[in-house]
């Protein structure tokens, strides 16, 4: 791999051992992937910030790297506790204090603790054609697809190393030749709620694996909420990092994204219905937790939920979690949406990823969610069963305490 003088200086330890470690990682990753050079990045978004995933090794690593500072704007993804009101949620104190220590170490390195998987709703907005180093999977696919920026599927560590060095090895999705659509997906089903787009993504992701799907037959007025739901679930059942929608996503508007297509599939109403069944692991009628906001809710989603709860109460013993970022919650506070959700007995949670919360919170409860990604990961990571349905069904379940 050809390194610039500046990169050689990093490698020789001139900027300290933390920077040296980071450039060693990036060089090795580049050589493994046959990159010939580094490319400067314009932003980074970093996960691995949940104590549940990273564990004590994660804290050790951050201490090791905390002598370094980021060279580009960098934001932190969602974490394992609500950053404002974890005490009210019975989060074990030990877990909270470890999570808090991680947060402080990231901040010391210069990373903005936006604590969200939708950083583009909190000020870290990718631009068309920019090279980035982003993670986790739902943020990666949003940057590549919704915005037409370029990022590989980075890990917690490689995204952090890139933020510290301001570079990433030039391979994979940084090269136009790897951004062509490969599987043409004809959608022949009417889709409405974010959960429908989640089901579509989950169905297609299984078939696509790591290839790039191109969707045709979707309406041109797709909202950002539907796109983020589609992307997150494509990256859940598959390793998809980039999709195109004809007439909607930026690369599909500017280039012939169909030029690499070698496979065609059709998705019908039945496929979507079956995906709802596949993702519903619970047979229980009673529900205990309603989890909304994976990926994190936009202000429009919060407004609809607060409207659905008007003059209603969340059933006794049922928890309604609506997850979003600190920035979006500030607007929700201003608009009175937060208070409306609170009055009904629900909670607007900030900065937290529902799957990253400690399992003690879940116990043996039954969860209902409008997120295909959550429906996939909550059973695996939190050990409880879920109902997967549309947003209306979820808010109804919050009020009645029953799944019907």
């Amino acid at each position: 791999m050809h390194l610039t003088q500046e990169e050689e200086r990093m490698l020789s330890g001139e900027y300290g051992s933390a920077v040296q470690k980071c450039i060693e990682i990036l060089t090795a990753v580049g050589e493994i992937n046959n990159a010939t050079e580094m490319v400067k990045i314009e932003s980074s978004h970093i996960s691995g910030s949940s104590y549940k995933e990273a564990g004590d090794a994660g804290i050790k690593l951050l201490r090791l790297l905390s002598a370094a500072r980021v060279r580009v704007p960098a934001t932190l993804s969602s974490i394992g506790i609500d950053v404002q009101k974890w005490k009210g949620m019975k989060i074990p104190r030990h877990y909270a204090s470890k999570q808090y220590e991680m947060l402080k170490l990231y901040e010391k390195i210069g990373i903005i603790s936006a604590c969200t998987c939708t950083p583009y709703l909190s000020g870290n907005v990718p631009r068309f054609g920019q090279h980035l180093s982003w993670t986790p999977s739902e943020s990666i696919i949003a940057a590549n697809s919704q915005f037409g920026a370029m990022t590989n599927r980075e890990s917690d560590v490689t995204a952090l190393a890139s933020a510290i060095c301001g570079r990433t090895p030039m391979y994979g999705y940084h090269l136009n030749e790897n951004r062509k659509g490969q599987i043409l997906v004809k959608v022949e089903s009417d889709l409405e709620d974010v959960s429908d787009y989640g089901a579509l993504g989950y169905y297609v992701g299984k078939i696509a694996g790591s290839e790039n799907p191109v969707f045709e037959g979707l309406p041109s007025y797709l909202a950002i909420e539907q796109l983020k739901s589609l992307g997150a679930s494509l990256a859940t059942s598959g390793a998809v990092a980039l999709y195109h929608i004809l007439g909607v996503t930026p690369e599909a508007l500017t280039t012939d994204v169909k030029r690499g297509v070698h496979e065609r599939i059709t998705v019908g109403k039945k496929d979507i219905e079956q995906t709802y069944e596949v993702l519903s692991s619970s047979a229980a009628e009673k529900v205990d937790i309603i989890s909304i906001g994976c990926p994190h809710c936009s202000i429009s989603e919060i407004r609809s939920i607060s409207a659905a709860l008007r003059n209603r109460k969340v059933a006794k013993g049922v928890s309604l979690w609506v997850c979003t970022s600190l920035a979006v919650k500030a607007i929700a506070d201003k608009m009175g949406f937060t208070q409306a959700i609170n009055r009904a007995g629900g909670m607007l949670l900030t900065g937290v990823c529902p799957h990253a919360m400690p399992n003690e919170i879940y116990g043996t409860k039954t969860v209902a969610t409008n997120s295909a990604k959550s429906a996939h990961y909550i059973p695996e990571l939190c050990g409880v069963n879920v109902h997967f349905g549309n947003t209306r069904k979820c808010t109804r379940a919050a009020i009645s305490g029953r799944w019907s």
Binding site: E24, I25, A28, V29, I32, E53, A57, S155, T158
Partner: protein, 152 residues
């Protein structure tokens, strides 16, 4: 005479130890116990074998990117492998090895998974990309002899 394999440095350093060889790809997240360094999956008849302080030989890594952190965590607890030898390195294992200061080499002139046997004593010099293999049965007799590695 000893058997020498030449490869490409992935993570710097030198080490030595006895070989643990898997003919199947390894996922550190789920595949290896994060506290003890014991293999948890039924791979190549190695379930229950510890990779701590061993020269761990396998074709390539697989699975979740969280595997890097498992490998780093094991190294911090002194339960990590002494060195890693791969046919073709993957990003997850390479990142974990660099973080943990574990020497690692890949892309050898001969396939390390078929040349190296369980229990061989291995000297690894990742700076030079060189691996020296001393066969176990000969070790017991207090001598080393040549092993034909092209017989695989």
């Amino acid at each position: 005479m000893k058997v020498i394999l030449k490869g490409r440095r992935v993570s710097k350093g030198t080490a030595q130890g006895y070989a643990v060889v898997s003919s199947e790809p390894i996922s550190f997240l789920g595949g290896i116990d994060r506290e003890t360094g014991t293999i948890r999956e039924e791979i190549s008849g190695l379930k229950g074998t510890s990779i701590a302080k061993k020269v761990f030989v396998f074709p390539t890594g697989k699975g979740s990117t969280g595997g890097s952190m498992i490998l780093f965590g094991l190294a911090e607890k002194k339960k990590g492998p002494a060195a890693i030898l791969n046919a073709e390195a993957d990003t997850i294992t390479a990142v974990g090895a660099i973080l943990g200061g574990i020497p690692m080499i890949d892309r050898f002139d001969k396939d390390p998974v078929s040349v190296i046997k369980n229990g061989d004593f291995i000297k690894v010099d990742a700076e030079k990309g060189i691996v020296e293999i001393l066969r176990n049965e000969d070790q017991g007799k207090g001598r080393t002899s040549s092993v034909m590695c092209d017989s695989t």
